[in-house]
């Protein structure tokens, strides 16, 4: 496995076969596209539902139902019905469908859990509903929203590694090709790269969250809770 990982041939394009950097870039691209689309859908919707309190039961029910849905099945069904040419789109839809429920739930729960007295105080100071949401509720809900974003991103990275099965790229390619060719060092090397990518992304996002969240919210309790979400 180390031989495969340290072989320079695997780090460049050889005989038309993309190397590790290109597969890594594909993996990151798949992940980023899906996470951004999912966030654009889930955060405003979750903020609206959390702010008005309407549809909360729907959110909780949907998240639980989606957890049972096998990612592989969803990916295969969409890839097959949309055709090989639209495999990227099929995968992106799958990844967005996987990322939206946790983000929606996190945003909703974050807004709901904001100290009600802070919201009342904001209204008492004459803030409009929009301002209450943007200036008070969202900043206070940030730890939970970002925590949900991290969870969703990791799930997307995991599922993007399955994309190789429907003839797409990404780091999962090495695992799928390695198994097909019985090259187990390639398989293991790919697996190590996927695991390393997930851990590095998690640590980077955790660091970013620490920087972005208001120090006032960094109470010992909330910090402890965030550590592993």
């Amino acid at each position: 496995m180390w031989e495969w990982l340290t072989n320079p041939d695997n780090w460049t394009k050889t005989f038309g076969t993309p190397g590790i950097p290109q597969r890594l870039a594909e993996h990151l691209q798949y992940t980023a596209v899906a996470v951004v689309i999912a966030a654009l859908i889930a955060v405003p919707l979750g903020a609206y539902i959390g702010h008005t309190g309407r549809g909360g039961t729907f959110v909780v029910g949907m998240v639980n139902a989606f957890r049972a849905l096998p990612e592989l099945g969803l990916l295969i069904l969409l890839a097959l019905s949309m055709g090989v040419l639209l495999a990227f789109e099929a995968m992106t839809i799958t990844l967005v469908l996987i990322a939206v429920p946790p983000m929606l739930a996190g945003t909703y729960a974050g807004i709901r859990n904001v100290d009600q007295s802070a919201v009342d105080a904001a209204r008492g100071m004459g803030m409009r509903e929009r301002e209450v949401l943007v200036k008070v509720e969202l900043p206070n809900a940030l730890p939970l929203i970002l925590g949900a974003l991290r969870t969703a991103t990791l799930q997307v990275i995991a599922t993007a590694s399955i994309a190789a099965f429907v003839s797409l790229g990404g780091l999962g390619r090495f695992v799928v090709d390695g198994l097909a060719l019985r090259e187990f060092d390639q398989m293991a090397g790919g697996a190590v790269l996927i695991a390393a990518l997930a851990i590095v992304v998690e640590l980077v996002l955790a660091g970013a969250q620490w920087l972005v969240v208001s120090p006032g919210l960094r109470a010992p309790r909330s910090r402890k809770r965030k550590a592993t979400t």
Binding site: A68, L69, L72, L80, A158, I162, V175, L179, A195, A227
Partner: protein, 214 residues
């Protein structure tokens, strides 16, 4: 639909195998997570080590963990043990924190009263702490169950075939009926086991039904 009716036997045996692959790790994971979580709830140093370590293990994608198992364990690459041990790792990683949180949430006055009544630590754990922690613990077990049942299907990418076989095979044969049957059965299995767990929870915590919450 005719395809499904023609292959009922095969789908049933795949379902049974799927459950076996998903539920054995759940039981093992719970048995391992209970003592670890107990230690983490009692000693601050253990919590600081165990909870972040579990979180980091949980971030490793399933496909990667399945493939890495043979390297760590020395098993064969197509051995179903790879999937079962990887899922046990996930279950432990998820439940350690849940157990620790659930036990830490047991009211200190109740624990003190039990000690005053003469319970020794081990007896108190089983007779007082664990039952009181059960609702939170059960919520964690339900999440682990549903995600295990869903994750087993990824195992078919490395040749460990539960219902995931219906998905990969259906893809190769352009057989929608097979894929949809696979997805539906996986979801049905997850919801059915989840319902059983809810029922077990109700039986085990009769006090929760009287007089509402706590």
């Amino acid at each position: 639909m005719t395809w499904v009716l023609d292959h009922v036997d095969q789908l049933l045996s795949l379902s049974a195998y799927h459950l076996w692959l998903a539920l054995l790790p759940l039981v093992l994971g719970l048995l391992i997570a209970l003592p670890l979580g107990w230690v983490a709830s009692r000693y601050y140093w253990a919590r600081v080590i165990l909870v972040p370590a579990a979180g980091l293990l949980y971030t490793i994608p399933s496909l990667a963990l399945f493939v890495l198992m043979p390297l760590i364990l020395g098993t064969l690459i197509l051995d179903p043990l790879n999937v079962q041990i990887a899922l046990t790792v996930y279950t432990v990683a998820l439940l350690v924190r849940v157990v620790a949180d659930a036990l830490a949430a047991v009211p200190a006055t109740v624990a003190a009263a039990a000690t005053a009544m003469g319970y020794r630590p081990v007896g108190r754990f089983f007779a007082v702490d664990l039952p009181l922690a059960l609702p939170v613990l059960l919520a964690g077990v339900r999440v682990a169950t549903v995600s295990n049942i869903s994750l087993v299907s990824v195992g078919s990418l490395i040749g460990v075939h539960g219902l995931g076989q219906a998905l990969t095979e259906g893809f190769q044969r352009d057989n929608y009926a097979e894929i949809i049957a696979g997805i539906v059965l996986i979801v049905v299995l997850a919801l059915a086991v989840d319902a059983v767990l809810v029922l077990v929870g109700r039986v085990l915590t009769p006090w929760a039904r009287i007089g509402g919450r706590r």
